[in-house]
Symmetry: none
Subunit: 201 residues, 4 copies
DNA sequence: GATGAATGAGGCTTCATTCAT
DNA sequence: TATGAATGAAGCCTCATTCAT
């Protein structure tokens, strides 16, 4: 993040703490009422700081969002990377797929609301959009490499992995929000797993 | 839908035309800069009318959006229903899937930007969200019935159809925005078709 | 009412009727929600005419109010003049005062709400204010003359009559709105009558 | 009174000062052009502050008015209460009445215009109306008690006191605005005093 | 005369951001 | 650093009035 001269890059313990508090407050507030449904005063209040100081740490409101996005990306990637690290040979896609699906659901359960907010903004904010793309790119690359490493290989791996990710993500979203009463989500989960498996066998 | 007493329910040619102009302007403006990136004055200007008259036809800014949403839903459903009507026996899922995928891509090419805007709002607007859910429900039901009618049957049809729709939709989105340079979208299209086919054989 | 060239002074039956309908509608609407609580469209609607034609008969919104004020003044003065005409010798202030008080109450019962509205505007509208002053002036003069004619005479008659009118009016207002629960209004009426009587004996 | 979360309940010197400035500006502006004849921007300007900060201290425009009403009530009641406190035995209604009348005139000379504005709104605003009623109630009660204490007693005291107040008030109003040229106000004052005296002897 | 659609100025209010302390 | 009061641009909406038909 290119921070202009006016914005402090906090070095001291206390400052770092304050900045974190604001980001966390932003995370909460943006999660529950969205970016446009809130205002900086509320974020400051939720963080337990004054309105003014927010602009000591952030260039503007969007800058807070960008930091929240960083947190979100961490929240999403870390457990997945960690899960991937746990996969060791011998393991087949049959075991891998459900594990990933369930993990993504778990991640979504904690982050679905901020996901919504951030995703909403990707439509109009190129910066946000770019980060989502980058995230997908990284995940695709990492996952492909991992699968390859585990002996799972097919032509057009990027395309398959990417598609798999799309499927899992849109399913996790539905699952968490439990949008449709006519859908049996546990059953759907099995079908999802199966579809993914079939992508790699 | 429920228009209060103050809102004109246009009967005359001229009124209907004006209302349409505003909705179309809303469609354009919301498409290009999003709901929060614009204001009623700009919509009015784009429609070639005064600010005031907008409130003669719509309760508020959101009401315009809701009408744009109606248009969007029409734009999405009509060609699909029409496509479905064209499917007649004998036809297999192998032919059906690519046709649907290509049609959805085509639809998305015209409506992707408004789709983004509307989808963004579903996160914070229950009304918008409900309409999207309803749309998905209707599509799922119709498609299931159609497949069944064509002799394509499997257990858990709703779950399969719904998943298929999710897959197609998220793919079409990617395809249209051509987000990732490392993805070969035509190839991905084939994989998508294959995944869908496998859901129903 | 100096009506500018654009405003028709209706000559035809039908036009006169339309103008009356609008004034009556104004009377009703201004009575129930006040001058600022309404708008010309509502008046037109209540009158069963179009918005546009209102400006065929009236210069502006205020002009309607001024005509309503005329009606109000008629409503107030006519019954009082008629009552005064009924007073014939021999009659004393003891009989006269209660009769007037009761008549004013009766008048207020029908016109209290428009009275409120009009009185409100007198504070900021010099025209309205002037008409109220004129009304009071006329009433004072007429009443003084009548009393004199009936042999009721005192020094400073204008002052006494005017005060008497003030008393009756403020009482009638309270009586109609029954504002204070701790007041026994019938009793208060008797005291009011007595006070007035004492002004002239 | 009930200030929502967003409204500053000023604690600091500076805040209190600003709030006062706005109320005073409201008092002036509402006095001279009425409630509907002005807008928040003008009030802010008159107070020497920005438009925005007004909404830091007040919920809306009406809220300012309510605070102005508080000031008005203070302006009216304090000198009267103070005058009443000065009355000590032995004193008769003959001395008391003129003192009160003159005091009310004095009060009205300073507050007549805001009185007009506020009174105007009582017609359509229940809150304002209620406060006026309450004020009258309090004054009636206090005055009755005081008179009783001074040995002035009659049946139906509330009715008499209330009527006396009405008389004084409507007279003071006329006196201040000097509405009628044909009225000799000093003479009228004497008649008013006499009427009041006669209510209590 | 009559209609009701259209105009556009202006009011109320919010809120990202700055500033005095 | 920190506070929270202050700024002012901008958004949404209303409504008296005009105008095309």
């Amino acid at each position: 993040m290119a921070t202009s001269g006016k914005i402090r890059e906090p070095k001291q313990e206390r400052s770092i703490e304050t900045k974190k508090k604001i980001i966390n407050a932003g995370y909460e507030v943006f999660s529950s009422v969205g970016y446009y449904g809130t205002n900086t005063a509320e974020i400051a209040k939720a963080a337990g700081v004054s309105t003014g100081i927010v602009y000591g740490y952030f260039k503007d409101k969007r800058d807070i969002l960008l930091c929240v996005l960083d947190i979100y990306i961490d929240n999403v990637t870390k457990p997945l990377y960690s899960l991937m690290a746990d996969f060791t040979l011998p393991i087949g896609i049959e075991d891998l797929a459900p594990a990933v699906v369930d993990e993504v659901i778990k991640i979504h359960e904690t982050n679905s609301r901020i996901h919504n907010t951030l995703h909403s903004l990707a439509a109009t904010d190129d910066g946000v959009n770019a980060r989502f793309s980058e995230l997908e790119h990284k995940m695709t690359t990492k996952l492909s490499a991992k699968l390859n490493h585990l002996g799972i290989d097919k032509p057009d791996m990027f395309e398959r992995v990417h598609l798999a990710m799309n499927i899992v993500q849109s399913f996790a979203h539905e699952y968490v929000f439990d949008k449709h009463q006519y859908i049996d989500y546990p059953k759907m989960r099995d079908i999802v797993c199966n579809s993914i498996i079939k992508l790699f066998v």
